[in-house]
Every structure is written in C-alpha cells, then in structure tokens.
C-alpha cells in the first residue's frame, strides 16, 4: 500500500500530507504510529530509531495521535478520555486538564458526559485535547476535519496553530480539505498511489492551483 516514502519534519513545523481518498495516507499514518508493521525502511524520531518500536512505546516517546474519525472512546466520559492521553510522552510532565480546557472550553462543560454523545466537532476537539494533554513532541492528525461543520474546522485549526506556538509542538497532519491545508500547513507533501509525488514549499501553499493539482489529479 505504501512504498518508498521519505519525508522529514523539523522541530516546530506544521507539515501536511495531502492526497485524495485511498492513496495510502491512513496506511502511512498507521505505519508511522506503529499500528502497522514497517516492512522496509527506517523511522527515526528525535534521533532515535523507532522502526521496531511498538505503538505504545512510540506514544510514550512523545508522539500524540488524533486518529481518523476522531477515535474517541465513546463509552468513556470526556474526563476519562482526557486521562487516557496522559501516558503520552513520558519525558515531559503532562499538561493540566485546565490548560487543555482553555483551548476548548466546551469540553469543560461536558466533562462528565460520555464522549459518544458529543457532536462531531466536540469529538474532534476532545481527540485533539486528549493527544496534547500528554505534552507530545509531535502531534499526528489523520483527517481531523472529517464530519465537522466548516466554522468549527477553522476554529480547530486556529487552536492547533495556537498550541503549536504555545508549547512548541511539531504537527504532522493528513488532510484533503483544501481550506484547512492552506490555512494550517507551512509545508506539504503530496501523496498518490502509496508514494510521495511532490512537495509543496512554504511559498506555494497558498497557491490554489498547485494544491488542487495534487488533490484532484
């Protein structure tokens, strides 16, 4: 599904991987997260080879994950969901729930509620909060906007940028929503048929035509 992909992300960057449905973006993310085995090649994180490291160990090294479709635990409460994120990044102390609620105040109101009863936007917010509460070095988001109203999409992207600034978080996200890509990313990799077919440099991200080429080929 995914072959011969090489990408590099520097500390503090916000990088996106773009491409249409079914080009292997999710497979790539899962391989990166350690949920699928890497059959070839090497993954390093903070100068450490993590190719053979298991998913839970990778999380503890500081990779936060926002899965496709948000992946909140529907039968756990908002608080419990947040608590699940505290295992991420053993090197740094976890954030305080209050700090996270600051970004998404709605969650605080609903903290005793089951996550399955939240709206799509709130679930996305929860999923992101859950990942950042562990104070990760790298945040990986897999189509964070899926099933979310447009106004919330932009709120969420603003928050991610904010967090990126506040705690120096590196962000890698996979997306096909044009607006979000343009608004958030500093750099893009374009994917097709399981490999990287191009890189969109910082100055070109704003260029609608270039992006569109990769998204709709």
């Amino acid at each position: 599904m995914v072959r011969d992909m090489s990408i590099t992300i520097e500390k503090g960057e916000i990088v996106s991987i773009i491409g249409r449905n079914g080009v292997g973006k999710s497979t790539f993310v899962k391989t990166l997260m350690g949920l699928l085995k890497t059959s070839k090649g090497k993954i390093t994180f903070n100068q450490q080879d993590i190719t053979r490291t298991k998913a839970d160990e990778r999380a503890k090294l500081g990779i936060g994950y926002v899965p496709q479709g948000h992946g909140v635990f529907p039968a756990l409460t908002v608080e419990e969901n947040l608590h699940m994120g505290k295992l991420i990044n053993k090197q740094k102390p976890s954030l305080n729930p209050e700090q996270v609620y600051d970004y998404f105040p709605k969650l605080k109101e609903r903290r005793k509620q089951k996550a399955g009863t939240l709206s799509g936007g709130e679930q996305a917010a929860l999923s992101i909060s859950r990942a950042i509460i562990g104070n990760p070095d790298l945040l990986v988001l897999d189509e964070p906007t899926e099933g979310i109203q447009p106004n919330i999409v932009y709120h969420i992207s603003d928050m991610i940028k904010q967090i990126n600034k506040d705690i120096g978080l590196t962000v890698l996200f996979v997306e096909q929503h044009m607006g979000l890509i343009q608004q958030m990313s500093e750099r893009c990799y374009a994917m097709d048929k399981g490999s990287i077919v191009g890189e969109v440099k910082h100055q070109d991200v704003a260029n609608y035509e270039i992006l569109k080429r990769y998204l709709t080929v």
């Binding site: 599904m1 995914v2 949920l35 699928l36 085995k37």
Partner: protein
C-alpha cells in the same frame, strides 16, 4: 481436478479405505466403520462453518435427533425391513429440524457467534430434557425414551434381507461417505457452492448481488443438519444404542474441535483429522494410560497454537510447497504484509 496434495490424498484415502478390510480383522473393520460414521458429523460442520461461515455448536442436536428418530421409528414397527425407511426419514427429520432452527435464526438476523450460543443452549436443553425421561410416562408409541440410560436394542440397518453388520455395514458407510463426499465437492464447485462461499466471505455484499442470504443459509444449515443426522443414525445402528449424552457439552464441542484442528475450509482435512482423532483418542483410552486425556488436551493446544490453519491443511500446504518449489510457482499468500497487524 488439479494435481494438488489434497486431491491425491483424497483418492489414496478412499482406495485405502476400500481395501482396508482385506488386511485386518473383523473388529478393526467394525471399529473403523464407527469412525467413518462420525466423519459425517465433522463434514456437516465443515460444510456450514468452513464453507458457509455459520459457526454452530449444535451439530450434536441434529446428531441426536437423527439417532433418536431412527430408534423410535424402527422400534415402533417391529419389522426389521423397515429400517431403510427409518434411515431416510431420520435424515430428513434432522434436515427439517435444522431448517426450522435456521429459519428462526437467519431470518431474524442472528449470525456469527450468536448462532453458536443459541445452538449451544439448545443442545443443553435437549440433554436436560432427555435425561429425565426415564419414567414410563415418557413413551413415544411403544418405545420408552429411557432417560439418561437412553434407548437400547435399536435394530441394525437392513436392506431387504441383508443385515448391515461387519463388512456389510463398513462398505455401506463407505459408499455413503463416498457419495456424500462427492456431492459436497460437487456442491462447492457448483453455482450454489459459489454463492455459499460468497456468503462466508461477505454476507452483505452477497445480499446486494441479489442473493436471498437467509434462505441460502437456512438451506445449507438444513443440509448440515441432515448430514449430522445421518451420522447419528449410523451411530445408533452401529451400537444399537443412543443416550442423551450425545447432546452433552462434550459431544457438542468435539465436532468443533475436529473441524477447527483439522482445517475447517477443507473436507478432505476434516475426514482425515476425524479418523485420526478417533483412532488416537481410542488408542489412548485402550492403553489405560492415565495421561491419555492430558496428551489429547496438549495435542489440541499445540495444534491450534502452532498450526492455526489446521494440522492436515498445513500438511497439504507443506507438500504442495515441496513439490512446487522446483517449478518456481510460488503463489502470493493471502493478505498484504504491510497490513499485517501487530499483536
């Protein structure tokens, strides 16, 4: 037919079974005819589980229904020439009971592990019920159900004046096995067979190709019931005896074990493994060795842990692999490595 180990083995097996009585004493023939009778039970599960993806714990139900039906029917009409009718009606009875149960489940949308659970409960109901029918009020016609002790003195099958015992019974069972085996092979290669496999692979998609899935499932379940019932009848005729323990948890589990450990998607494997298992467990029991059950248990554990596709199937693949290596014709194995899950 392609030249695969499985086919070669199947042919050799049947040839071997045909000439077997020439080389052994009558006891061994009779004993093997008992094992062969039990093969139908495994085949019934291999059909519905391996080919149609319906997991049933309830083949014991139909086995027992067949056995009891045959017993009650033939013992009520004192004529021994009536046994073939009892034989045929018994098979139908098993099929009908299975069809009714299948209808009740599949049209109600019960699938997967829940079929297993319903059938498990049903078999326990029957065991509990039949166990307490020792009283004389429990009678069908002139035949008392006999409670836990079961029914004794069931007439052996007789065709015309030919009583099916010893070698006769052996060849009778073997012929039926050959026919059933052939029919099953034919069935799975037929139009109907491909729709059955389609249901196993993807129930929803098959529905959307215009197949009435519950109907096909009920039908396959009914055939499985008839086969299990056939097994029960042969068993009752072999030992002239049937008891409620045929409905017990052990009896319900054994076909599952045989089919799972032998290789469930393969009829030949089910036949071979059933024969092996019965022979092996009997040999252990006859040895009087107190470690018999431990050895049997460990064998099953090891088999599933290290040969998850089934022991016999693994052997087939291994042989295929050996012979085809030189030709350099290596088929890609199922599933993409990239998508292999950890843990």
């Amino acid at each position: 037919m392609t030249l695969k180990t499985e086919n070669v083995v199947a042919v050799l097996l049947f040839i071997g079974l045909f000439i077997y009585p020439l080389f052994v004493n009558p006891y061994q023939v009779m004993n093997l005819s008992y094992f062969l009778s039990m093969v139908f039970l495994s085949l019934s599960l291999a059909l519905i589980w391996g080919y149609c993806g319906i997991f049933s714990f309830g083949q014991a139900v139909f086995f027992g229904v067949g056995g009891y039906f045959y017993a009650i029917f033939t013992m009520n009409s004192q004529l021994s020439t009536i046994t073939p009718i009892g034989f045929i009606l018994g098979i139908l009875a098993g099929g009908v009971v299975a069809w009714i149960l299948g209808y009740f489940m599949f049209y109600g949308g019960v699938n997967d592990v829940f079929v297993g659970l319903i059938t498990l409960c049903l078999t326990l109901v029957l065991e509990t019920f039949m166990g307490q029918t020792a009283g004389s009020e429990w009678k069908i016609g002139q035949v008392g159900l006999g409670g836990f002790n079961g029914i004794n003195g069931i007439p052996t099958l007789q065709i015309g004046s030919l009583s099916l015992t010893g070698n006769n019974f052996y060849y009778f069972v073997l012929m039926i096995l050959l026919i059933v085996f052939g029919l099953l092979k034919f069935l799975t290669h037929s139009k109907f067979g491909s729709s059955v496999i389609a249901i196993r692979e993807n129930r929803d998609r098959t529905r959307l190709l215009g197949y009435n899935v519950p109907k096909i499932q009920s039908f396959v379940f009914a055939i499985g019931g008839a086969l299990a019932s056939l097994s029960g009848i042969l068993y009752a005729s072999w030992g002239s005896y049937i008891t409620p323990s045929v409905f017990g948890l052990t009896s319900a589990t054994i076909p599952v074990i045989l089919v799972a450990a032998g290789g469930r998607k393969n009829f030949t494997a089910s036949v071979i493994f059933t024969l092996l298992y019965y022979w092996f467990s009997q040999a252990l029991s006859a040895s009087g060795n107190q470690f018999a059950l431990i050895i049997l248990g460990l064998t099953l554990i090891l088999a599933i842990l290290f040969v998850p596709d089934g022991i016999v199937v693994a052997l087939f693949n291994w042989c295929d692999h050996l012979f085809s290596r030189n030709k350099g014709k290596v088929k890609l194995e199922k599933g993409n490595l990239h998508e292999e899950k950890i843990s």
